[in-house]
Symmetry: C2
Subunit: 478 residues, 2 copies
Amino acid sequence: MPYMPVTESMFLIAETREQPMHVGGLQLFIPREGQTGTELAEEFFEAYHGCRNVRRLFRKRPTPPAMLMGYLSWSYDDDIDFDYHVRRATLPHPGRIRELLRYISLHHSALLDRTRPMWELHIIDGLEDGRVAVYTKIHHSLMDGVSALRLLQDTLSTDPDDRNGTAMTDPMLSRSKKPKPQTPGPGLLSFGGVTRLAGRAVGVAGQALDVAGQLVGVAPAAAKIAWTAITDDDFASPFVPAPHTMLNVSIGSARRFAAQGWPLERLRAIADALDITLNDVVVGMCSGAVRSYLIDQDSLPDGPLLAALPVSMRQEISTEGNKVTLILANLATDQPDPERRLATVVSSTRSAKKIIRNLSPLQALAFGVASGAPLALATIPGFVDYTSPQFNLIISNVPGPREHMYWNGARLDGIYPVSIAMEGLAINITVATAADHVNFGIIGARKELPSLQRILTHLDTALEEMEKVAGINDRGKR
Amino acid sequence: MPYMPVTESMFLIAETREQPMHVGGLQLFIPREGQTGTELAEEFFEAYHGCRNVRRLFRKRPTPPAMLMGYLSWSYDDDIDFDYHVRRATLPHPGRIRELLRYISLHHSALLDRTRPMWELHIIDGLEDGRVAVYTKIHHSLMDGVSALRLLQDTLSTDPDDRNGTAMTDPMLSRSKKPKPQTPGPGLLSFGGVTRLAGRAVGVAGQALDVAGQLVGVAPAAAKIAWTAITDDDFASPFVPAPHTMLNVSIGSARRFAAQGWPLERLRAIADALDITLNDVVVGMCSGAVRSYLIDQDSLPDGPLLAALPVSMRQEISTEGNKVTLILANLATDQPDPERRLATVVSSTRSAKKIIRNLSPLQALAFGVASGAPLALATIPGFVDYTSPQFNLIISNVPGPREHMYWNGARLDGIYPVSIAMEGLAINITVATAADHVNFGIIGARKELPSLQRILTHLDTALEEMEKVAGINDRGKR
């Protein structure tokens, strides 16, 4: 039986009924000319349900019995219950995006079955505009959001006339005819990528160590980080506690999902005008939106919120295996002026990036693991309520395809990540840029964060505010 | 905070992700003349989603924090998230019963959220025949299947022109204009009824006792039962172990639901011809079907399976408060001959009933609790695999309405109970007789019991076999 590294088992160990540890993705497709939504949905269903030869990844499940610190090995099923894993659904009348988001909200709240390979694929028709939605739900111990997205892209083609659309469960999935997966730049990455890569490095030191041992093993880098925190005011160190907010509480199992896309060119114009990165604009939007949401809820703390941003280091340190870490950004939510708020956000991420460049790869990696470590401890009852959070939320950016992509001629019209809300981290914002749109997927604890969908309006407002700061004539752009 | 009796908390304590402890009901309605399925579904949705004044029962949830032996009190929510509890769904094309059963199977597998009142109501259209399904899902700590069914009946009317259809969550639900709930005869009852009533009696002795204490408190009746087991061969004592079967294993969280109804007159004809009870015919059908299913699976044990049957004693001991207990029936699954198999079934239930008549009400009640007690212990890891089961499955019968009932003119066309599969009890058969049909609802562990839906065919075959035994001309009846 293959041994399970801590970076995989930690997601099984940390999982509770209030804190499911699966990641999701919502993709929207426009049927090809002359095809109805139901016909496209049936075509997807046949491809997935009929794919009887399933790649190893989608056949693995934790080996029983379930033990407290257990699940240390994987088993592989030959017999797959396709009716369970591949599901058809139809939205109830009137089939608006609202009904779709409600469907995702309710299904993302339910735990995956541990006695079988931990994934589901839902193929959904009934949208009033005729589009078809594909919702994937995969346990984080199997795969992170970035890998899932790449696998999905491998099933797509840039050629609208290509009719070789396959299932991502297909082991014969040909990569040769597909465009190479996008290599992410020095931008944001999903949280999953961080811990996965971290685990590979830690694993070198000895996979037989237990979870606590592996996390303790990364402590030496802490001295360097502590020193930086003292000498650099802009650096949001993990050892400076973030404020307590309504985002950092114990949560129930129910979720709410909100999603919306904005034209890439609008964000790009701001980045160009202000000489900041596209990621700065994304974080700036989140900063304004979270501030407005907390004001709505009469819960804005005096101090600024801190966000953890998984960051790729692929281009800086190309020969090392460790390419991802976490940085902390000051969201400046205490700052009412949009221009000054954005300036603080940009300054804090630039400063944090500089620090990472000065750390050795292992130290930089450790920084990420240190920032992420409390997540694994959060399931100890009461832990969240009695300690200060190191950060208030995670904002990630998953690289999507840069061109328009097709599945059997049906155009991919949007990708929205559906991530994980946790004990103490009741909201997660994950962004996927695909073709010409920047798509935000927001998952939150349903009961603890009322009216979460208002964040979409606040993101739009924050974008408009930044356009004004950048001197862009908003009306002329739209 | 109201104290929670052990009969309620035991369902919360025993619940694991592999063993959800909610009961369900599936009702089918025929839209009234000129009404589409979608219109009826919307009408149901408005009645439930719009019922803002919710009765206390549907506002109660376990008080946090979650502790191992905790959940000893209830809290009451004033603010109900109706979008969460009341759901609309549409079956995917082609909208057969198969798609409906798949929907129920998948949704019955998911745990209810403990941070809110533990119930859901799904209103489902999209059936090709235009009928509308209402699936209720309620935690067993709140209510048992019998009570849920009665509450549902209170929302219905015998008058097809009555347009005062209300929601069962409505505290103003008028009972005056409704027919009186059916008083169950000396027939079968749901497992839930047993433990609930048992708890009331035990509670008199002191509600402050812990779970173990309350269960131990019923031991004195054991002597009488042991004596009976020695002196009466037909009596299936709980101390004679049932055989190990594939029905008595550790289970995963996924379920499969199968359901079908048969005309009451067919079962009645057999009962009349053979001078046995309707319940004997029901158990006889189960006996033949389970035998055939185990043969399919190449898993028929040498010894006969034992079934636990919750039995009402209302008419025998009318002045006492305790009206329900469990009896064990010998299913004679080792017997290939239908006639001899049925004879053994009937003989064993008659014998067990006789015993119950000779016990005092408290002793009879204790007999039920003693038979049920191991269920609460089954969540201890490994417990199931290393001990012999006291019985192999539970077969219950929930009393439904005897007349045709209507909701705003839409006729109730069938009630199918969706019960609980447990660690060690991978299948549960619950039967509801409503108007002129006997409806079987079968819930089973999806992975452990493959092709469970074949039981429906086997039930039909078993019914035909008994018709032959009774000398009924099968063709003439249909």
